[in-house]
């Protein structure tokens, strides 16, 4: 029997879009995502839709049904056009965060013919309707607002795909704002961590994560990032990013 205190190596993919994101394929349903991730051998995922979390509970339940850990998450777009992954310890914390984001979204409707549909599902992939508000846009929240709000709810705020020229903390704001307590940064799925560190000296000392940023099922591939921790949970992830008791996050070549 495995001791509960033993560290294990777990594959993680913490940035996957569901069909709620207008830019994601309509086949990105909770069960389909969970099944594909399991098939790829992934132990833990986060479903992070743009400024929205309407499929979070269904994805969590679908994960449970397939033996996959699903962390509640969201990809927020700040007023500066920076994308930040917001990960939470519970669905309740994510719901509290959604209320903040709801107040910061502009009062505009989605234009499905231009941006795509924003589909909601239950945990058996039954359609529940569509999100009408425009999700693919900036909230009124600054980078600092998002970090403060997510931290207050005991979540983790991870700047997304920082090596990309747009919608990224370093592309849009040039450097990591002083005073921002960044727990980790996400780099593009095929990026070479050493090359990214050399290009962006600001990232010195920060843990890196890669994720699929999948918008189609076929983009959910075997995860490159491993969580070396006791279990596939949010709390273990948090501790691994802090390097607690030899826990860590590793990117494979």
């Amino acid at each position: 029997m495995v001791m509960a205190t033993e560290l294990v190596s777990l594959t993680v993919d913490l940035h996957i879009h569901s069909a709620l994101s207008p830019c994601a394929d309509n086949e990105m349903t909770p069960r389909a995502i969970a099944a594909r991730a399991r098939q790829m051998g992934t132990d833990m995922i986060a479903v992070c839709d743009h400024n929205a979390s309407g499929n979070a509970a269904a994805c969590h339940a679908a994960g449970q049904a397939t033996g996959l850990a699903v962390i509640p998450g969201m990809e927020v777009q700040t007023r500066e056009e920076v994308h930040l992954l917001c990960l939470f310890p519970s669905l309740a914390a994510l719901a509290a965060w959604q209320a903040v984001v709801d107040r910061a979204l502009p009062p505009l409707d989605n234009q499905p013919q231009h941006f795509g549909r924003q589909l909601l599902f239950d945990d058996h992939d039954r359609p529940l309707g569509e999100e009408r508000r425009l999700l693919l846009t900036s909230t009124a929240l600054t980078v600092e607002d998002v970090f403060a709000g997510v931290t207050r709810l005991a979540g983790l705020c991870v700047p997304a795909h920082i090596d990309r020229p747009s919608y990224s903390l370093l592309g849009t704001l040039g450097l990591i704002p002083p005073g921002l307590a960044v727990p980790a940064v996400e780099i593009s799925r095929r990026a070479d961590p050493a090359a990214v560190r050399e290009r962006f000296p600001d990232t010195r000392g920060l843990p890196f994560l890669t994720a699929s940023d999948a918008h189609w099922l076929s983009q959910i591939a075997p995860a490159r990032t491993r969580l070396v921790a006791r279990a596939p949970t949010f709390d273990e992830l948090r501790q691994a990013l802090a390097g607690a008791d030899n826990r860590r996050v590793v990117i494979d070549d």
Binding site: E80, E81, T142, V143, P165, S166, L170, G171, T172, L173, G174, L175, P177, P178
Partner: protein, 116 residues
């Protein structure tokens, strides 16, 4: 042409760096991606942007641009203005959109060149 003349000609508001208005404006740059500004803005440029984050001030210092113009009615955040005042960075503002400001600034600088 110095900044004081640019401010007068374009009808800009001076938010910080009053003491720096005698500096010569030698060119202009227009971008909202700060990484791009870091790579391409030249010292002496007047940088037109919609961004209001405090990093604007850091990038303005780093690139040694002559001034930042917040366009389209945007106003830099309080933290940005405090930092700019502290570092002597000139922050200007206008309700005109970036396109309009860039066009007028370009014409102004070109006319200044010809007058020499």
């Amino acid at each position: 042409m110095n900044l004081r003349d640019v401010v007068a000609e374009l009808g800009l508001a001076v938010l910080t760096g009053e003491a720096g208005l005698d500096r010569e404006a030698t060119g202009g740059y227009c971008s909202d991606l700060l990484s791009d500004v870091m790579a391409h803005a030249r010292p002496g440029d007047v940088w037109i942007t919609l961004q209001t984050h405090p990093n604007v001030v850091a990038v303005a210092s780093l690139t040694n641009v002559a001034a930042v113009v917040a366009s389209g009615g945007q106003r830099p955040e309080a933290a940005s203005l405090a930092r700019a005042a502290n570092e002597g960075v000139v922050i200007l503002a206008s309700d005109q959109p970036s396109f309009e400001l860039a066009g007028r600034l370009h014409a102004l600088l070109a006319a200044g060149q010809q007058a020499r």
